[in-house]
Structure formats: structure tokens, C-alpha cells
């Protein structure tokens, strides 16, 4: 069991997986709260186009991933809150981006495995240098989220009220999508662009079912996310099955478990608005 820590790729995988899972869980919490999970999914697909485009130009794929996700996040934010939640528009962008990525791959035929790695992740291929890059990306993402935390939560829960208090929902929506873009790029390195959902949305959605305050939900989401990532990596070590498969399965299992009635059913009190006088 401990033998796996003797391998550099294993240590890198665990480090990268932990950092990325924690960041994704934090960002995913807001994504779920704002009902924008699908937008996060779409951002990762745009990241795929960026990565393949970068490979075509001879640049590191992570750079293309980050650049494209950021750009897409910015555009989506500028198009406005409503657009960023409209599934038809998002779905179109998603499909177009994937198609474009495919075209880039077609021109760059040398690496067939590159596509699989981008689409489904290749966590055991992460070297120490990539890990430092990932750490930087994740720190920027989490730091950005911390910076906009309060106004973003306010604007998400009460847009009209926030606007009246001088908090622009559009500004913070856009800043948030930039943060999501960064987190997606990191996430795609671990589980691949197609499966970003499982680390981004899964832990947060499960945590929100179990916890009722933002603070607790954030902590539990990070706990779930890191547990899934590490669990998936360790299971992959023992079974030799892909880590992404295990991570997505654990994510789904966690969510299903969270749907069980954990909280004791509280008899709903009479919905009286005022005590009778």
C-alpha cells in the first residue's frame, strides 16, 4: 500500500488531485448555488478547443486551456447573466467548441493520445513542473473567489437587492466566470474536459444537500472533493482502471448518498405568519 508513495508520478497525482479537487469544490459551490453548473461544463469544452489549438501551435496545452477558458468566461459574463444561464446558447457554444477542437486535432495528427488525455484526463502524466503550474492556477482561482466572495453570494441570492445596494450582479457574474474558467482549466488536467462536472459540481451539490449554511457547505464540499480525487487515484493504483472513471463514480455515489434523508425530518411547523391576536 505504502509502496505507491515511492513513485514520483503517484505523489504528483495525489498532490495535483488534492489541490484541484479542493479548488473545484469551492468554485463549484457557487456554481451550484447560482444554478450555473451547465455554464461551467461548457467552459471546460471551450478549454478543450484552446488546448488543442495550443498544441497545434506548438504551445503547452495547459496555457491554451487556461487562456480559452478565461476568454470564454469573460465573454459569457459580458453577454449577461441571463445568457450565461440559457441552456440553448450554452449548448451551442459547447458543441461548436468541441467541433473546433476536433478540427485542430485533425490538423495535428501526431498525437492521438493527446485527445484522449484532454478529454478524459491523464492524472498520472502530471510531472512536477505541471503540478506547480496547476498550483498557481488553483491559487489564483481560489484567491479570486475569496476576494469576490461576499458580493457574489449577495448578488447570487438577491440580485435586485444587490443592485439596489450598489453591487452590480453583472460585474460579479463576470468576475466569477473568470474564476470558474481558471478552475475548469485545472480540473481538466485531472479528469479531462468531459468529466470536469464530477469534480466541480458533484461535491458541491452533495454538500449543499447536507449543509444549510455557506460556510459549512464549503468545508464539506472540499472534504468530498479531495476524498473523491484521492480515493479515485488510489483505486486506480490498485485496479489499474482509469482514475477518471473512479473519480466520476465516487462523485456520483457521494451525491446519491447525500440524497438520503440524513437530516431528521423536522415536523414542519404551522406556517403561521403572525401569532393570532
Amino acid at each position: 500500500m505504502l509502496a505507491m508513495f515511492g513513485y514520483g508520478f503517484m505523489v504528483n497525482a495525489l498532490l495535483a488531485g488534492g489541490v484541484v479537487a479542493a479548488t473545484s469544490a469551492l468554485v463549484g459551490f457557487m456554481l451550484v448555488l447560482r444554478g450555473q453548473s451547465f455554464a461551467g461544463h461548457a467552459l471546460s469544452h471551450v478549454g478543450f478547443t484552446g488546448a488543442t489549438g495550443a498544441v497545434l501551435l506548438g504551445l503547452p496545452p495547459l496555457g491554451g486551456l487556461v487562456g480559452a477558458s478565461l476568454l470564454a468566461g469573460l465573454l459569457m459574463g459580458l453577454l449577461g447573466e441571463r445568457t450565461a444561464r440559457r441552456d440553448v446558447a450554452i449548448g451551442l457554444v459547447l458543441a461548436t467548441a468541441l467541433g473546433l477542437g476536433l478540427l485542430f486535432l485533425h490538423f495535428f495528427t501526431a498525437y492521438a493520445s493527446q485527445a484522449t488525455a484532454l478529454l478524459f484526463g491523464n492524472i498520472f502524466g502530471i510531472d512536477r513542473q505541471t503540478f506547480w503550474m496547476l498550483l498557481l492556477v488553483c491559487l489564483c482561482s481560489a484567491g479570486g473567489l475569496a476576494l469576490i466572495g461576499r458580493p457574489l453570494l449577495f448578488a447570487s441570492l438577491h440580485p435586485e437587492l444587490a443592485e439596489a445596494r450598489g453591487v452590480s450582479p453583472r460585474l460579479f457574474g463576470t468576475l466569477f466566470l473568470l474564476v470558474v474558467g481558471l478552475a475548469t482549466a485545472g480540473c481538466a488536467q485531472v479528469v479531462g474536459v468531459l468529466l470536469v462536472f464530477s469534480l466541480m459540481v458533484g461535491p458541491a451539490a452533495a454538500a449543499l444537500r447536507v449543509c444549510a449554511t455557506p460556510r459549512r457547505a464549503l468545508c464539506v464540499a472540499v472534504l468530498f472533493g479531495v476524498a473523491q480525487a484521492w480515493g479515485g487515484i488510489v483505486l486506480a493504483w490498485f485496479t489499474d482502471w482509469p482514475a477518471s472513471f473512479w473519480i466520476t463514480s465516487l462523485s456520483a455515489a457521494t451525491f446519491l448518498l447525500s440524497c438520503l434523508p440524513w437530516r431528521r425530518w423536522r415536523a414542519s411547523r404551522p406556517a403561521d405568519l403572525l401569532p393570532a391576536r
Binding site: 453570494l153 449577495f154 447570487s156 444549510a212
Partner: protein, 317 residues
């Protein structure tokens, strides 16, 4: 308190704005003052040349059919809609966004994060305008407890939104509007989708808060009757015009006919009042959003009459 505010179909008497502005300096500025205000929304004139003032410490019911400009007026007071002409002062200062002296309760909508607790939902508004994250903070907790207690919603603090009824969620939104001790409350249609007994409860609660905290409350509603016992004054909006005064002054056939520019009958039945346009009741509005009644200008008409002609100039149709 409201003596100084006679019935003012403001558009009919624009001169009143001048006298209104010349209040002696010693008296504190009114909660809200509209000075020859014109509001446009998407090319449609919602209010034209309206001058009036709301005092500190009064409960004003804001009535009128859908599209009459109730929400737009609130948004203008909040600084979210720029006046097309004229001005708005809030406690003596021009209206601007982020005014801490205003508490606002938007119309009830679907809340996105129904998994969160009542306390978390209210608390998000506490310091939502500041960057960063909030760490554990006793002052914040005490303030949230204070507003929850004010509206009698302590029991809702630890329940999740999706476990609450519409009325309970509304009480939380009312609590949130009280964060930061505002002196002016704008409540946009708090009675919508509540059954009559709950409506009375909300009105009584708001009235009690208004009196205890000495607030100016603008309370918009579709229907006059639930507010009858609680209001100090009533503001009727319609056809780009406004009429402000006590119920006895404003809710009369002649004055509402002048406001809407079509014959309106006011029928009093015991303690209830029915405002009828032809055979239909105004405000109940069963025929879609912009159908205040046959022959009534206003919501349907893109271009209200010029104010100078006076409200009495009824348009034949």
C-alpha cells in the same frame, strides 16, 4: 403628521412642487421628494411630471394597475432608474444607488439557493457590498438575530428555504430589508400570492414595524382593501399620473376619474371599498397585465396626456 399633505393630483397642479421645495430649512427633509419627475421605461412614459413628498414616519399604500409604474417608481427612488426629467431626493439628497437608508423588498420570486437556511439567506445581505469573505463575526450574528426577531421569524433561522411557505420566505425578505436600520422601506407587492388571512397578517406586521421604528413605508399593492386600516395615506398611480392623499381624499369617484381620465365609481360596502371602472373592478385585473378596464388610458397607451392639460381633461374614446 400628514396634515401638510393635502390631496395632490400632482400633475394637475405642478405649481405645488415649487411650494413643496420651499419648505423652511428647520424642518427635516422629507423621506422622499419627487420634483416634476418623469420616468420612462423602454420608450413608454411611466410617470410624467409628478411632484409629491413622503414624510418620515408614515405608511403609504401605493396602488394602481399593473404597468402603472409602482415598481419603476421604487427603482427610481433606489437610483436604479434614471429620471427622464425632474429629480428625486431621499432624505434631502439626490437618489443614488447603494443608499443605506433605504430598505428594499423586491417582488417575491423563486429563490435560487433553496437549500440554504433562513439565517444564511438573510445574512448574505448584511455586508454583501464589501469585498472579501466574512469570518466569524458576533456583531453580524446579532444584527441578523435582531431583524429576524423584529419580524417574528426566529423559528425560520435554521430551516431551509425549500421547507418554508411563501409567506415565511416573504417574512425573511422583510427581515432582510430591515438590515442596517433603514429609515425608508420600499415593499414591492408583498401581498401577491398570499391568501387573505395572511395578507392581513403581513399588513399588520408592517404597520407595527413602521410605528415602532418610525419608518417611512411605501407599500405597493394591487388591492386597496387589505391596506385600508393601516395606511396613513394612499398613492394612486395610473396613466402616467399620481394622486396622493388620505383614503377619504383620493379614493373618491371624482378624483380617481380625474386621475385615470375615465369615469370611475367608488363603491363603499361597510368597511370595504370597491373601485369600479364600468362593470370591472380596478386593480384586480383578471384580464392580463395591461388591462385596467375599458376606456381607461394608462398601461395600454404609450403616450399619456401632457400634464399641463390637467387630469380633468378626460379623453373621449
Amino acid at each position: 403628521m400628514t396634515v401638510a399633505a393635502p390631496f395632490s393630483s400632482a400633475s394637475a397642479r405642478p405649481a405645488e412642487a415649487v411650494s413643496g421645495a420651499a419648505v423652511p430649512v428647520a424642518t427635516p427633509a422629507p423621506a422622499v421628494m419627487l420634483d416634476r419627475l418623469c420616468l420612462r421605461l423602454g420608450g413608454r412614459t411611466v410617470l410624467s411630471d409628478v411632484s409629491l413628498r413622503f414624510d418620515r414616519d408614515e405608511f403609504v399604500g401605493v396602488l394602481g394597475p399593473n404597468g402603472a409604474g409602482k415598481t419603476t417608481l421604487f427603482r427610481a427612488i433606489l437610483g436604479l432608474v434614471k429620471p427622464a426629467a425632474g429629480g428625486i431626493e431621499v432624505f434631502g439628497r439626490p437618489a443614488r444607488r447603494g443608499q443605506p437608508s433605504i430598505g428594499y423588498m423586491p417582488q417575491l420570486r423563486v429563490l435560487p439557493a433553496a437549500n440554504l437556511s433562513g439565517r444564511a439567506t438573510v445574512a448574505s445581505g448584511l455586508d454583501g457590498a464589501r469585498w472579501g469573505v466574512r469570518w466569524r463575526d458576533r456583531g453580524a450574528r446579532a444584527e441578523v438575530d435582531r431583524v429576524l426577531e423584529l419580524v417574528g421569524a426566529e423559528a425560520l433561522a435554521d430551516r431551509r428555504l425549500h421547507e418554508m411557505s411563501g409567506g415565511e420566505r416573504q417574512r425573511l425578505l422583510l427581515a432582510q430589508a430591515l438590515l442596517g436600520q433603514p429609515s425608508l422601506l420600499l415593499l414591492d407587492e408583498p401581498l401577491i400570492s398570499l391568501d387573505p388571512s395572511r395578507q392581513d397578517g403581513v399588513v399588520a406586521l408592517v404597520r407595527r414595524l413602521q410605528r415602532d421604528l418610525r419608518l417611512c413605508v411605501l407599500f405597493s399593492a394591487h388591492e386597496l382593501n387589505p391596506l385600508l386600516g393601516a395606511m396613513d395615506r394612499v398613492l394612486y398611480l395610473g396613466g402616467g399620473h399620481a394622486a396622493l392623499g388620505t383614503v377619504a381624499e383620493v379614493v373618491t369617484g371624482p378624483s380617481l376619474s380625474r386621475l385615470y381620465g375615465s369615469p370611475i365609481d367608488v363603491v363603499r360596502l361597510g368597511e370595504r371599498i370597491f373601485v369600479m371602472s364600468g362593470s370591472r373592478e380596478v386593480g384586480i385585473d383578471p384580464h392580463g397585465p395591461c388591462a385596467p378596464g375599458p376606456g381607461m388610458p394608462g398601461s395600454g397607451s404609450p403616450d399619456p396626456r401632457p400634464a399641463a392639460t390637467g387630469a380633468a381633461a378626460a379623453r373621449p374614446r
